[in-house]
């Protein structure tokens, strides 16, 4: 699949495009005169920030899975649940759909996101200049879906606020809620720091036909 459309990029034309509003400016301009956003040249220098946020997200993801997310106290006794424990309990109550949603949002999406961002960042410069559609789609999915991991944090917030029935039942948040929220926020920042224009830059020696 080699589309032979010859495409002129802003960079080729000696211009820098604003990634916020699309306006173009002569190369070397610092900030967009229309929307005020800082203009970023298409360069691999920005990848350092991607990796820094990525690592921070990974570090916080570990305690998020080890510590309890919820502490439940009922007449029957105390109970602590980690993220995975919460999914297992939902399965035990035959709530398969909800268990699936939580499993996907809290475990599948974060882990897949770490791999996807790392893959995108590592493969910069290796794509063929003309056809990097799969990489762009991957980037769009990561950008779109990453924030949905926050579901479990909101579940903990609602349960803790709602279930306050004294001795009958009470739920309190665990430390994992904070580290999970931070992990999701850091990976969102990591994905936002990745410049999708790098996907199309291709190997340095490849020139447009």
């Amino acid at each position: 699949m080699t589309p032979t459309v010859s495409v002129l990029t802003a960079r080729d034309a000696g211009l820098t495009g604003c990634t916020r509003c699309g306006r173009v400016w002569p190369e070397g301009t610092q900030a967009c005169g229309r929307c005020g956003a800082r203009l970023r040249r298409v360069s691999t220098a920005g990848l350092q920030r991607v990796w820094a946020w990525w690592l921070a997200g990974l570090i916080f993801y570990i305690p998020a899975n080890l510590y309890p997310m919820l502490r439940t106290a009922t007449l029957g006794g105390h109970q602590q649940n980690t993220i995975l424990g919460g999914v297992v309990e939902l399965l035990a109550h035959h709530n398969y759909l909800v268990a699936g949603v939580v499993f996907f949002a809290s475990l599948v999406i974060p882990v897949a996101k770490f791999f996807a961002i790392a893959y995108l960042a590592l493969s910069v410069g290796h794509e063929r200049r003309a056809g990097s559609h799969p990489h762009l789609h991957l980037y769009e999915v990561v950008e779109f879906i990453g924030r949905w991991s926050m579901i479990d944090v909101f579940v903990v917030a609602i349960l803790s606020a709602l279930v306050q029935l004294g001795a009958v039942a009470s739920i309190h948040p665990g430390p994992a809620a904070a580290s999970f929220a931070l992990s999701v926020a850091f990976t969102m920042l990591s994905a936002q720091s990745f410049d999708p224009r790098l996907i199309w830059r291709g190997p340095a020696q490849a020139k447009d036909p």
């Binding site: 002129l8 802003a10 960079r11 173009v24 349960l159 606020a161 009958v168 224009r197």
Partner: protein, 207 residues
């Protein structure tokens, strides 16, 4: 294929692949996508700025209801407890989790409200054909940059999951704030559909 002799303000660079395009004012339902990567560059301007303002204003009113009316009420064994969205956000307010309370409050109440306010501030003078107010560009850029962090719709899915989780423990009834929140999400989605960013940026620049 892209002629560079035109003024710079008639060019548009794709934010996803840097391809240069000629920007032209499109018809009501036309849209422009990047020739190389397919990213939508100019979304159709299906409604006027006034429609967007009306929706943003509706959303702000719904947010007031969503925050202050009871959200959910739980009852079990003769005990009951009502909680508002504000209380849900404050669930983390004791101990080391306190900053998380602030973050939740930002994500579900403050940032969505700020985005609606910034949008109204930007579009109100433009819809009347007057020059944009000072810092309109900054306000609109703020509204755009905050978008990923405004999580009202994720909060509602979280509520649904929480309802299933407590189902075995107690019975829960939905308060007016819950429905206000659902309406808020629909209004926000409509607003996003009616809004053409490129048209707004162009209007700010030319005013």
């Amino acid at each position: 294929m892209t002629d560079l002799s035109v003024p710079l303000d008639q060019l548009i660079a794709c934010p996803c692949c840097d391809a240069l395009h000629h920007a032209t004012v499109l018809g009501e339902t036309e849209r422009a996508a990047c020739v190389r990567c397919g990213t939508l560059l100019i979304t159709p301007r299906t409604r006027s700025f006034l429609h967007v303002i009306a929706l943003a204003f509706t959303a702000m009113i719904l947010m007031v209801g969503a925050v202050f009316f009871p959200f959910l009420t739980i009852s079990a064994k003769g005990l009951s407890h009502a909680s508002s969205v504000f209380e849900a956000a404050m669930a983390f307010s004791d101990g080391i989790l306190a900053p998380l309370s602030l973050a939740v409050l930002l994500a579900i109440v403050a940032l969505p409200t700020l985005r609606f306010a910034a949008l109204i501030y930007t579009l109100w003078p433009l819809s009347n054909g007057r020059p944009a107010w000072p810092h309109a560009a900054r306000a609109f850029r703020l509204a755009e940059e905050l978008q990923p962090w405004a999580m009202a719709e994720i909060f509602i899915i979280g509520t649904a999951v929480a309802l299933v989780k407590v189902a075995g423990l107690a019975s829960v009834s939905l308060g007016p704030a819950f429905w206000a929140f659902c309406a808020l999400i629909i209004v926000t989605a409509l607003k996003n559909v009616f809004m053409s960013k490129w048209t707004i940026w162009r209007a700010i620049e030319q005013s």
